[in-house]
């Protein structure tokens, strides 16, 4: 499939069954013309060409996707939310309940697939030093567009394993630029993502630009779209590019309680200057196909990253974390701490990598992935990896997959706590270790309620024990 044919979607000669990426490129081209911004058209075209060249979604053959089957997408055949012009075509349903309430800070609701509306009301409520821009606004700002272009150019769009990054770039239109001026602490910004109950794939791009010494907490929440329609399986393809200047501190939180029919793909690339700090804390409590790729490039001396998540698998969900901490400079620190609870037929994947490049002396690395399997049919694939090419490195890594501690269960029962409650208490405690990272008690309490509600029942364990 060449770029030329991808741009001619209405060619009547297409006979063979077409792959999803090719269909999506055609849908995009049918509804969008050139943006008129030379660099933007260029990056779109280049990514479209790369996607067309690879021509398919990633599959088992691609190492990064070995355990993450996209079969559900292949069968659902979601349409591309091709540009904001297509908005009217599909119903956007508002979720019935907010996920977290009264948590303070600036907040913004984003209807995925609709035009990003930055109302005056929102913009006026922002603390000093924090600016939010849409893509057209950012294009008009030479300084910001300069940073944006260099970040976009860093996105790897090559080969089937990068199909979603390529698609996101080829269809780059809906974007939010978050900028914090040097030395400012912008507090908390809450993004509430509302996903339409439509059989549609939507792309979105976030740029987070923190200038020297700036600070921000970004809280992203995904309530359930409250759909029970199997034919409407929305896919969200989010690419977040984060640039942290010297000594900037970015606290990134994600809380999702999506329905089993919502698919959430997230690719986060972080570029870190010296002494900057990136902290990620995720709570994955729902979703059908959930993919979180976090890639931290520790470019300057003394940069640090601390990434953690609790994930809970129910039904037939698949939750995949691919984590990279790339130590390029001296005295950088990275931590990875991921905890999974998997019930029913759910599946979890953890692939954590830490690279210590030549010369990155004084690096410290810790990786940990612990998992509880609550059913015979649940599955966990875990692989912490260290590649060390420098001296004077402190590194540790470990992974465990186990079942609930029988001794602890019995102990709780002998005090009068019913077996099912004891199981919930123990699985909840297992995940609370991640919640303990947050200092905001009110937020933690709300998240703990969500975690408890998402805990799978224990099944078929009795058969194993006896």
């Amino acid at each position: 499939m060449s770029l030329a044919s991808a741009q001619r979607p209405n060619a009547e000669h297409s006979d063979a069954v077409q792959t999803l990426p090719v269909v999506w490129l055609q849908q995009w081209a049918a509804q969008n013309s050139a943006s008129g911004v030379a660099w933007l058209d260029q990056v779109r075209q280049k990514a479209a060409a790369e996607l067309a060249a690879s021509g398919r979604l990633p599959g088992r053959k691609d190492e990064r996707w070995k355990y993450f089957s996209l079969q559900k997408l292949e069968s659902a055949q979601p349409e591309l939310g091709a540009g904001l012009a297509s908005e009217a075509k599909s119903s956007v349903t508002q979720s019935d309940a907010v996920l977290l309430s009264d948590i303070g800070g600036a907040s913004l609701q984003i209807q995925i697939g609709s035009e990003l509306k930055l109302s005056d009301q929102v913009l006026k409520s922002l603390p000093a030093g924090l600016s939010l821009l849409s893509l057209p606004q950012a294009i008009d700002d030479p300084e910001i567009s300069g940073q944006m272009i260099s970040l976009i150019e860093m996105v790897n769009c090559q080969g089937p394993s990068r199909a979603f990054e390529a698609l996101n770039t080829a269809c780059l239109e809906a974007a939010l630029i978050i900028h914090v001026a040097a030395g400012k602490d912008a507090g908390r910004l809450h993004l509430e993502w509302l996903q339409p109950a439509a059989n549609r794939l939507d792309n979105f791009r976030i740029f987070v630009l923190l200038e020297e010494g700036a600070q921000l907490q970004l809280l992203e929440t995904y309530p359930s779209s409250a759909t029970t329609d199997q034919k409407a399986q929305p896919v969200f393809n989010l690419l977040s590019q984060i640039q942290l200047a010297e000594a900037a501190r970015f606290d990134h939180l994600r809380v999702q309680s999506a329905s089993e029919f919502q698919h959430l793909l997230q690719f986060v690339n972080v570029e870190q200057a010296s002494e900057s700090h990136y902290r990620y804390t995720g709570f994955e409590m729902g979703g059908g196909l959930v993919r979180n790729d976090l890639n931290c490039q520790l470019n300057g001396p003394g940069a640090s990253t601390d990434m953690a998540a609790a994930f809970i698998g129910n039904g037939e969900s698949c939750i995949d974390h691919h984590i990279i901490a790339d130590h390029q400079a001296t005295n950088c620190t990275s931590e990875q701490n991921f905890r999974g609870v998997l019930g029913d037929r759910s599946k979890g994947v953890f692939n954590g990598k830490a690279f210590i490049r030549p010369g990155a002396d004084g690096s410290k690395v810790r990786q940990s992935n612990a998992n509880l399997l609550l059913s015979d049919l649940a599955e966990m694939n875990t692989k912490p990896e260290l590649e060390i090419y420098a001296d004077e490195v402190e590194a540790s890594h470990g992974a465990t997959v186990g079942q609930l501690d029988e001794q602890a269960l019995f102990y709780l029962q002998t005090r009068g706590i019913a077996e099912a409650d004891a199981q919930r208490l123990l699985t909840g405690a297992f995940c609370r270790a991640i919640g303990a990272r947050l200092t905001d008690r009110q937020l933690v309490e709300q998240i703990e309620v969500l975690l408890d509600a998402a805990m799978p029942g224990i099944s078929e364990l009795d058969g194993v024990q006896s």
């Binding site: 102990y411 709780l412 029962q413 002998t414 005090r415 009068g416 706590i417 077996e419 405690a429």
Partner: protein
Amino acid sequence: MLEIKNLHAQVGGKEILKGLSLSVQAGEVHAIMGPNGSGKSTLGNVIAGREGYEVTQGEVLYKGENLLEMAPEERACSGIFLAFQYPVEIPGVNNTYFLRAALNAQRKFRGEPELDSMQFLKLVREKLEILHISDDLLHRAVNEGFSGGEKKRNEIFQMAVLEPSLAILDETDSGLDIDALRLVADGVNRLRRADKAIIVITHYQRLLDHIVPDYVHVLADGKISASGGADLAIKLEERGYTWLERGGIAPLPGSNGAAAGA
């Protein structure tokens, strides 16, 4: 309160209890002594309902009901408490939260109103004060990082809060210094009431200086080989278990606990 008749139990296919009989009435304190491997802890675990302890023969009646058919939590809710020889560490579960969940589960079972956190905290502070236990234990995860002595104290504290009808202490004295031993004894003595019974499983006589039992039973090879009063423990301490094995005293008439139930 508790009637054990001809109890045979096995663990992993190996018979440990070989026809044990014991009768415990309300208001009594029974001590069960015996050498290692005699089946003391197995008895505690069978009564508490631990999985893997298979009863092959005999019966256990608690307040007239078949105990062996009850789930561990039902036994607890009916008033049975086992103080563990090795209390389990449960990271991530706060001690206060856990104990309130336990007490409220038991109250709910008995049809009593549940305690809210203020009421519960008041109760807990009273108990801590009586037992002279520091309240920092409330803020920690269940037994996590506790020293051996702290774990045993936590067991006694839980017992004081839950106020069981029948408490079984499984070698709660092992590894304790004299202060901790007094604290454990004090906790047990406070539970001594006409409507409650206590079984103290121990290897040594020294705990029985502080908790004077009404009856002492010697467990040997899965059966009660001798029963007597508090003085039996002292004789055992002086002469060792081998003294019994050599026929030092004759089993009491109709022994195997019959005397105790009288």
